[in-house]
Subunit: 422 residues, 2 copies
């Protein structure tokens, strides 16, 4: 079933139910795909041995037989964790799996390996290359998860986002990436970076699988497409407001706006208060202050081995006063409440750029999360839609954004917009 | 210096500066006090060997030479962690210290041992007894930290609160206990229970030391007493509203109200919206749903060894739908915003009961956190004031509460109210 690595999760389960393939079929197909492509893509920090008993699917049903990649800042009891350090900090095995790993296993998913993360999910790149063009970055920090899903090595992979670490690599690699409302899935057993913003999310090639995984992890009702998007109000917005848009990004936004309108939605420009433009700067203050706290032990013991940009951020955090930090949090809270009123009164979802353009050339940087920072600071759910291509045929994503805890509505709207798989 | 175990941190540092004692003097005095009282109180899960090099104070100044107790759900690289499991889950040493342990060490504090926690900081009691009456509970979940501070074994100890785990044991043991605004100090390396509410805080015998520790951990400006409390508005409130108050608690509230008025404050009853009375129930929904997620791995592997009440909570969480969870979070958010308006327009701080009475007799339960649940759900800072005694001369605390991120103002008001030590 080399073709069926592109099944949706539900289609695979239906094939198993009809006796057309085995529960371990997907696992073996993924291993074959990894064998074919890993030398180029280098998405994996560690792979489960093919003979491991851990490949036996669990007792749950929703994700039964689904191979999944686990970002390497997430604790695993049966695989090592290196937090993207290249080896200066390693845990051969955690005392217990991170909570989300057990939640996945409970539903029958099978962790296939640890995917490459940048150093502690910040900017120092790992070895991973963009599967669409091996000379380009896959984005970060969830580099290996986005690349593994894009290369068809795995149908599902976990990522985390504190600035733009899910939406940006999803945009660069051309896959769906979903960052739910902050704190939707427990961060227990995942290395903290800036705890008020750290959010667990996931990548998939099909919107259906993004929805299935949301249901599996939260135990929400299953998310279905609407008949059409009649009555749905979409606000078009690019943060920060004063940056000129890349032509490919502008094209992706207008294409998507047109598709939304064709499905019945009403799209209009969304003017926001100028205070929103300050959120990028407030995000940086919160990021630096909290990272300097959360990584205090790692900095104390391994500061000399750390990448220059991480050291710079921690030092910036150590120079940030509590008063500045508090002021940025309070400014964010004001915008969060104001944005909730916008969502209540004016729009159902916001359409915005995911990244400043296609994946930049080179492997020594992971691109700019600037279009994600404000949304992450506000804690709202964001979904990258991989429906457009830009310069040199490379993917250009756009994101749909909803108010906090409107994840189901957001996913339902996206599922209506995106043509069904297969 | 057997007497000087009761110094404030600043007084001790001044004595060291004047050459009246050594940097390690307090450490040795604490060890002597532990030797004298630990057989009865049983506050410690693990004690650093007296000869350990870890007792050498760090390079920082604010907490230089201060022995500190670390709650046993907090990772330590040089001491084992058991999470109050009585041994069914043990980590001999963490890969790195929890962030807060490094933040303390950086300021010169010296972790002296791990203090007893209830099982994963929920309700299954550990071995600790109340130093004021060994036949009674010290409260939970930060049982050992509150008891160790109350027994003079250590001037400072870390606790965590997700329901009433700092304020209640502080009230029962008769010490100051401070829960700052949620997410003030990073939870990195601390076992999560319900991440949207889990809050790190600390216990001390002196309000000055609560303030010094706040400054040391956040790098806020130092917190001083005001000239008096003229102009300060205090709202008197007991949540949930329909519970009859214990006579000792009522007396403690009216005594404290009188002291506040004597210092110049204006105290008046604070009528709150009836929706606040539902917060206790919403807290339970959030607690159960998030605990079932966060402890998924521990439940999977050790469910049969877990205490009955924890299993019951996790099963309640597994039976809680995402829709119920979301509804409780949104109800809390409404009250949080409404309470911010109350703090902006009507009162500076709220005065409320810490616990339903003195420490209950017996060691098979840790008392009721009902008076803390709403405040913890709202994420507001709470300080237990140990200024009153009730039935049989046992301590009865009251708490002062401020709006989120008004921690400095809250501590400054408390410092003005409480007579200076020594």
């Amino acid at each position: 079933m080399t073709d069926s690595v592109d099944d949706t999760i539900d289609a695979f389960r239906a094939r198993v139910a009809r006796g057309e393939c085995e529960e371990l079929t997907w696992w073996h197909a993924c291993q074959a795909r990894i064998e074919a492509r890993e030398a180029g893509v280098q998405a994996w920090e560690y792979l489960m041995p093919a003979t491991s008993t851990a490949i036996l699917p669990g007792t749950g049903q929703r994700l039964r037989g689904v191979p999944v990649g686990i970002k390497d800042i997430i604790d695993t009891a049966e695989m090592p964790t290196t937090w993207g350090t290249g080896g200066y900090l390693v845990s051969p095995e955690a005392v217990v799996d991170a909570a989300v790993v057990t939640l996945l296993k409970r539903q029958g998913a099978m962790p296939l390996g640890k995917t490459v993360s940048t150093e502690f999910a910040y900017f120092t790149p790992g070895k991973t290359r963009n599967p669409q063009d091996l000379s380009r970055t896959p984005g970060g920090s969830s580099s290996g998860s986005a690349a593994a899903v894009a290369a068809g090595m795995v149908p599902l992979a976990l990522g985390t986002q504190t600035a733009g670490s899910i939406i940006r690599p999803a945009s660069y690699c051309g896959v769906f990436g979903f960052k739910p409302t902050v704190n939707t899935v427990s961060f227990s057993g995942i290395k903290a970076f800036a705890p008020s913003m750290d959010t667990l999310g996931w990548f998939a090639r099909h919107i259906e699988d993004i929805c299935t995984t949301f249901t599996a992890l939260t135990r929400a009702e299953s998310i279905e497409a609407l008949p059409d998007l009649g009555g749905i109000r979409v606000g078009l917005r690019s943060l920060p407001g004063d940056r000129p848009l890349d032509a490919g990004v502008a094209q992706a936004l207008s294409n998507t706006a047109r598709h939304l309108e064709q499905a019945g939605a009403r799209v209009s420009a969304l003017p926001l208060d100028p205070r929103y433009d300050d959120l990028v700067a407030h995000h940086q203050v919160v990021l630096a202050y909290e990272a300097a706290q959360s990584l205090a032990s790692e900095f104390q013991q391994h500061g000399e081995e750390m990448g220059a940009r991480l050291v710079e951020l921690i030092e910036e955090g150590l120079a940030t006063s509590y008063a500045e930090y508090r002021a940025s949090l309070l400014a964010a809270e004001e915008c969060r409440q104001a944005l909730s009123r916008v969502f209540a009164d004016e729009v159902d979802v916001i359409l915005a750029a995911s990244a400043p353009g296609v994946a930049p050339p080179g492997l020594d940087a992971t691109g700019d999360p600037v279009y994600c920072r404000a949304w992450t600071l506000l804690g709202v759910p964001c979904l990258n839609l991989p429906l457009n291509t830009g310069q040199e045929g490379l993917p250009v994503g756009v994101q749909l954004i909803a108010d906090r805890w409107q994840d189901e509505r957001l996913l339902s709207i996206a599922r209506t917009l995106v043509p069904p798989a297969g």
